[in-house]
């Protein structure tokens, strides 16, 4: 009887060790990227998986972009932004207007990357507007600013008849494909990871820990906040553009506060201040929602319960403030290794 649980435990431990091996091996990363890219082309080309699974994979990709970019504000900078769906709406509308009204239909597939970038730039410009109040207000008051921003974006879209008003834009062509989603996910993770480990990223972290102290240590907090908001909202716009071209219909209703709440849950489920956490959070949240679909209405009853229980037992989320070694730059690992060695030597000499 006692054999059964221990063998399962053994298996879990072995799996864990294998996982640890993959995660800590940095040389695997480029190989995984190439394999992933090849698969993203091959799956739709040869019909390896059915359409439904491919669609879920695209949604997972979009959600990864959203949660990683929100983590920059909410996790690394320690603010509480609830307006991410607003940036997403701006990106979605800019790109959808471009593909339905401006660009001729036969050119659209070729210009799609530019359209997505245009959506991102549109959202990034709006991001500046939200960054400016963040210079003065923090915490709950900034949360209100982002919330009000979301409501304003929704209200403005509803009041412009030229872009459909409350009815939205129907008939957006299906342009988001699996390879494009994959490429954009890689770009997002790459940019945000590099930003976090750059000088500006250190500034972002120091603002989270203590804004006044970091100001005194000559961190240009305005510049850092501005950059963080613009980058975050740019990628939210990108995700919105991809989202519009896979859903094929957008309306202000799609981008309401519930959408923002979903992104927040993904970020905090995965854990703040961790890119790996954002990715895991997005994947788990999206797939769990799909797996639980047979439960019908009880799905959305069960899902928040799971979230609450997880938060009680792991208040920092799955990966809170920890990171896969893939995403940590080599010199950081090296520095922490030296630091640990020194500390051990010091402890040994002290005792």
């Amino acid at each position: 009887m006692t054999n059964q649980p221990s063998s399962i435990k053994n298996w879990i431990e072995r799996l864990g060790a294998l996982w640890e091996k993959i995660v800590s091996n940095r040389k695997l990363l480029p190989i995984l990227l190439v394999v992933g890219l090849l698969f993203s082309f091959a799956i739709p080309q040869f019909g390896l998986l059915n359409q439904y699974v491919v669609l879920i994979m695209i949604y997972v990709g979009i959600n990864i972009i959203l949660s990683t970019s929100l983590n920059l504000i909410n996790g690394y900078m320690g603010e509480f932004s609830v307006g991410h769906a607003g940036f997403m709406a701006v990106g979605a509308y800019v790109s959808a207007i471009l593909t339905t009204k401006v660009i001729p239909a036969n050119l659209a597939p070729w210009l799609f990357p530019l359209v997505v970038i245009a959506g991102g730039v549109g959202a990034g410009l709006i991001g500046i507007l939200v960054a400016v109040p963040s210079f003065k207000t923090r915490g709950d008051y900034l949360a209100i600013v982002t919330l009000a921003f979301l409501m304003i974006v929704k209200s403005v879209i509803e009041n412009i008849e030229a872009i459909g008003g409350p009815r939205g834009i129907p008939g957006v062509t299906l342009l988001t494909t699996l390879p494009w989603t994959f490429i954009w996910v890689v770009i997002t993770v790459w940019v945000i990871r590099n930003f976090v480990y750059s000088n500006f990223g250190r500034g972002v972290l120091s603002i989270r820990e203590d804004e006044i102290a970091s100001d005194l240590m000559s961190v240009n907090s305005r510049q850092v906040k501005m950059l963080a908001f613009v980058i975050s909202s740019f990628f939210a716009g990108v995700a919105g553009a991809l989202f519009a071209h896979v859903l094929q219909f957008i309306s202000p209703r799609v981008f309401d506060i519930v959408k923002s709440t979903d992104i927040l849950i993904m970020v905090y489920l995965g854990g703040i201040g961790s890119i790996a956490g954002s990715i895991l959070g997005a994947v788990i949240f999206t797939i769990l929602l799909e797996v639980l679909r047979p439960l019908g209405m009880w799905r959305m009853v069960l899902m928040p319960l799971v979230l609450v229980i997880l938060m009680i037992y792991r208040p920092r989320g799955i990966m809170g403030l920890r990171e896969f070694r893939w995403f940590v730059p080599g010199y950081d690992l090296f520095a922490s290794k030296i630091w640990r060695k020194k500390k051990e030597a010091k402890d040994a000499s002290a005792s």
């Binding site: 905090y268 209405m297 609450v308 009680i312």
Partner: protein
């Protein structure tokens, strides 16, 4: 001019509902420095308790109101015990996410039992008087008067009673006050019971004023009441009352004089402008920051 008076009356009605909900946010924040995002859904539960009591038990107005307030207070205390209490030492954001989760749970749990919008029977016989061109309904007067009575009662409890003194003490310092023999858990439960029962009362009033209710009605109103609490200065009880009336007033007046689709746009832009000039709300005081 009569049109303006009419709208002021409407604004007072909506504002008192916002103010009652905002009070719940601000009380919980004052004690736990935590935003209870499930509060909007507790407001929704209040409306549904009212619906249940009125439809199935055929109770008149006052017992219905009491049932809704007590029911919501019990749910609120249970939520605090099982979801928020384990997280008191945890980072603030996990408590916030838990609150969002509890809110989604309440919405969808209600949705399972009430998939379609329900209509609430009329509990108060509505008579309308016309005074100088302004039509005043008894329902409006009851809502405004009742919420003002509730607010005065709350202000009295917080300022004059022992429980209120304990609440104020705990919001001042959570570490030392329990050492003086004040039961921390009991006071927090009392705060939740008071705050959420006001939300439940607001739910009943909303259900009487706008008698079609659905499980998602609490989301937007909850967020708006949160904005009202912040505008007044979160953690400040009188601020929440002022903030609620300001938000209600702005919304109704914008809808009265501009196309009603501009309502949210103008209301929120005004709030943003206000926050730029008073970043800590109307009655809030900036906390000194230490490095």
């Amino acid at each position: 001019m009569t049109y303006l008076f009419q709208q002021v009356l409407n604004a007072l009605q909506l504002g008192s509902i916002y103010a009652l909900i905002a009070l719940g946010y601000t009380m919980v924040y004052g004690i736990l420095t935590m935003i209870n995002f499930a509060h909007g859904d507790l407001f929704m539960l209040g409306a549904f308790f009212c619906f249940l009591a009125a439809t199935f038990l055929h109770l008149p107005f006052i017992p219905t109101l009491l049932i809704a307030m007590i029911g919501v207070a019990i749910v609120g205390v249970l939520i605090e015990r099982f979801a928020y209490k384990p997280l008191r030492q945890a980072p603030r954001v996990s408590a916030i996410i838990t609150a969002l989760g509890v809110g989604i749970f309440l919405e969808n749990f209600t949705l399972v039992f009430a998939p379609y919008p329900q209509s609430v029977p009329t509990l108060i016989k509505n008579t309308t008087w016309v005074i100088g061109g302004v039509s005043i309904s008894s329902l409006q007067l009851i809502i405004i008067a009742l919420s003002i009575v509730l607010m005065i009662l709350l202000d009295f409890i917080v300022r004059k009673t022992m429980v209120g003194m304990a609440m104020r003490a705990i919001s001042w310092d959570k570490a030392i006050v329990p050492l003086m023999g004040i039961p921390l858990d009991l006071v927090i439960s009392a705060t939740f019971a008071l705050g959420t029962s006001l939300g439940g009362a607001a739910g009943v009033m909303y259900a009487l004023a706008f008698p079609v209710i659905d499980p998602y009605m609490g989301v937007l109103i909850g967020w708006k009441a949160f904005i009202a609490a912040v505008v007044g200065g979160i953690g400040n009880i009188r601020g929440a009352m002022i903030g609620g009336f300001i938000l209600g007033g702005v919304e109704i007046l914008v809808a009265a004089f501009l196309p009603s689709t501009y309502r949210d746009f103008v209301a929120f832009t005004l709030l943003l402008v206000l926050l730029i000039f008073r970043p800590y709300g109307i009655l809030g005081k900036p906390r000194p920051q230490k490095v």
